[in-house]
Symmetry: C2
């Protein structure tokens, strides 16, 4: 089957860059900066509370630091919040760099005449921001983002849309991602060849059901070249 | 009167840093980036349309680039918008640096035992972000922001609040800002000593009424030292 793959689709977060590390460092630096600006709390405790906020309100909620202050019985304090915001964004941007093998691998795949695509969950403008800051926005022939389409991973509809755009049969397409419950499950259901890349905080998770089992598991992106033959 | 000034208050935008240049460059770079990302329009025409958008929706409206695309009959295009957003924010941060004389002058005033303050219009977190990125957040004893208080320049109420915080009489306080219709007018009404600094895009504007006439006009911040004696 592998020799007729024509399109390789990638997830973005924890596949093209180290999003787990980026997020963790950004949150830690935000807490440190808020403490420096006058928030008198224990750093580890604050980080734990922040994680709770994110679980409750989602990672795109823009008033997480306001909620954090509330949790510690502080009045709204724009100075402390701004310190957190600046540190958070500066760190986010600083860590928005591709894995070392990302760009060489994408170039190699293009040299070999594969078409390249992205299938990702998120707000469309935010995901495009990531591609642009990673410097890979010109590499991809097809970009499909859940925020544009209304269906999210692992809904196979999202993957079918991406396949349709490419004009290929599902079996001629490959999906590369880090999450079994999102990338692999949905892509398997849509009939794609699936590759789990062992990166990010979900790398040790095992398949919970047959549909989450990837066709291939790789530890680095360049291993895809061997699979494609 | 000048020898009893105890507190010097500053506006932020176009007083502590070159906000006019920053905004103009950020908008130009955003348009260039959107054109690079596929927006097929004339650069000058797009800038003109963007200025119209900002006049219509205000400068803190977050969907300016979406509106810009609409104006040119484009469908929503997250890739193009993201290119604009990235270029806009990168440029904004790059130009968020103090005027060369800002920090030396603030240090000198502190050495001379003046208390320092900020009186500014805007969203509190955004204005604190500016102070932090400018690296001057620790210099000020009193920071008053319209977003926190509900009254905006030139409402003398905003200035009175700042004066109250300082514990001084109005005549013992000085307001330094670039805008006659905002900084000078409100501060005059509140009984402060007023200084117009000739910076930014409003520098050539003349007083339209007596209450807009500043006690002093300076071309650079260090001239304040001479006024204080």
């Amino acid at each position: 089957m592998e020799d007729k793959i024509k399109v390789v689709f990638f997830d973005i977060d924890d596949t093209l860059y180290d999003s787990s590390m980026q997020t963790e460092r950004a949150r830690k630096n935000a807490i440190k900066a808020m403490i420096e600006a006058g928030l008198d709390v224990d750093e580890d405790k604050a980080l734990e509370v922040l994680h709770g906020m994110i679980k409750k309100f989602g990672s795109n909620y823009q008033y997480q630091f306001d909620e954090l202050l509330k949790e510690f019985d502080y009045d709204p304090n724009p100075r402390i919040i701004a310190a957190g915001v600046v540190a958070y964004h500066t760190t986010k941007v600083a860590y928005l760099v591709p894995f070392p093998d990302t760009v060489p691998m994408l170039l190699r795949l293009r040299d070999l005449n594969y078409k390249l695509g992205v299938i990702t969950d998120g707000i469309a403008v935010k995901q495009w921001e990531k591609l642009i800051r990673l410097g890979v926005q010109h590499f991809f022939h097809f970009v499909t983002i859940s925020g544009d389409t209304g269906s999210e991973k692992p809904d196979p509809e999202l993957f079918r849309r991406a396949i349709d755009k490419s004009g290929c049969a599902p079996g001629e397409t490959m999906m590369v991602g880090d999450r079994l419950d999102k990338d692999v499950k949905g892509a398997n259901e849509a009939g794609m060849v699936t590759v789990q890349v062992m990166r990010g905080k979900y790398r040790e998770v095992k398949p919970r059901e047959e549909i989450e089992r990837p066709d291939y598991v790789v530890s680095k992106l360049s291993d895809i070249l061997r699979i494609l033959g």
